[in-house]
Assembly symmetry: C2
């Protein structure tokens, strides 16, 4: 399949960069074709303009073409303020445009990106127990606006997210183990069941 | 009090622009001082850089100074993909920096922005009944990552959001009524009870 990796981290030596490399290597070796949007390297402009909001999609067409070709959209990013970095949020604001990803008559079960899958792969700052200390920190709840309100809205099947906790606090051995766990996760992608939502349309 | 209005809409004729004008007028007449960050007009760059992530806050200092002076932060924006426009998400990514808004020892009850209030004022695309058709659409749930994970995390009191449903589908009379309701809401701000979260620190 064609996999579009949308990658958003400013530091090429970050753990997110290492995860992106694991994804490129693992999925290539498994026979998939990789498309990459390295948003920081591309100096991607995340600001949706008035013209684009009115439907002029000419400037964003190259990214739209990548999504059109992709069977799986894989988003790799650090969790900032319980959400995506602005450069990635703006990629969604601009690329998932009305008429391409959805329209008034097409959302959820018949969204215009139906047939594609989507996967969030992210790092979070704290250790796992932090996210169990309050329901508001439950990461499936935190990610729900993206999973449901954006990806499922456009008709995509949303795979369970892959989350790495506190990479900056990890030992070298722990980092290696986390990357190996990610590699195994990617190899098992075809077996993953998509997330379910209470109401789909 | 000093009110910082952080406004994010590309269209100066939008309903969001009208709401911003209501806020400026109403709060000024009530004796408050207004600071305004009109992010589109400022051509604000929402992309957090590697240098800034490492703690170099020189480029964002003017916005930090506005926040320092503000008693209330009022965010005015359209809901895009169950979240903020990227230009506003990036304002938070950059302005609520470690060492200014929080640090390892200071979050939630003792967050570094303690003593300030915050309020989201937003438009959403559909009519109110759409948001009652699935729990994932409940707008307090949709906004929770911002309310809890960002604003409350930095120590601010979070006031209940003001939400306008489907302004583009409204008649002129409905638009006038919505703006008048917003004016009344702003006049009643001192009486509003902040949102409560299950666990605060």
């Amino acid at each position: 399949m064609n996999v579009l990796i949308v990658y958003a981290h400013p530091n090429p030596h970050s753990f997110n960069a290492a995860m992106r490399e694991v994804a490129v290597g693992t999925l290539s070796r498994a026979g998939h074709s990789i498309l990459l949007s390295d948003l920081y390297a591309m100096r991607f402009n995340p600001v949706l303009s008035a013209e684009e909001l009115q439907g002029d999609l000419s400037a964003i067409q190259p990214e739209i073409e990548k999504v059109r070709r992709a069977d799986l959209l894989l988003f790799q990013f650090p969790n900032w303020w319980y959400g995506m970095p602005a450069i990635l949020k703006g990629w969604m604001d601009r690329v998932f445009a009305c008429g391409f990803a959805y329209d008034e008559a097409h959302s959820f079960e018949n969204g215009l990106l139906k047939g594609k899958k989507a996967l969030l792969s992210l790092t979070v700052g704290a250790r796992a127990d932090y996210y169990q200390q309050a329901p508001e920190r439950d990461l499936l709840r935190v990610l729900e606006p993206i999973h449901y309100g954006c990806l499922a809205y456009c008709g995509m099947e949303v795979l369970p997210p892959f989350i790495v906790y506190g990479p900056t606090e990890m030992s070298e051995a722990e980092r290696k183990a986390a990357l190996e766990a990610y590699r195994q996760y990617l190899l098992a992608l075809p077996q993953l069941r998509p997330l379910r939502f209470s109401h789909m349309g």
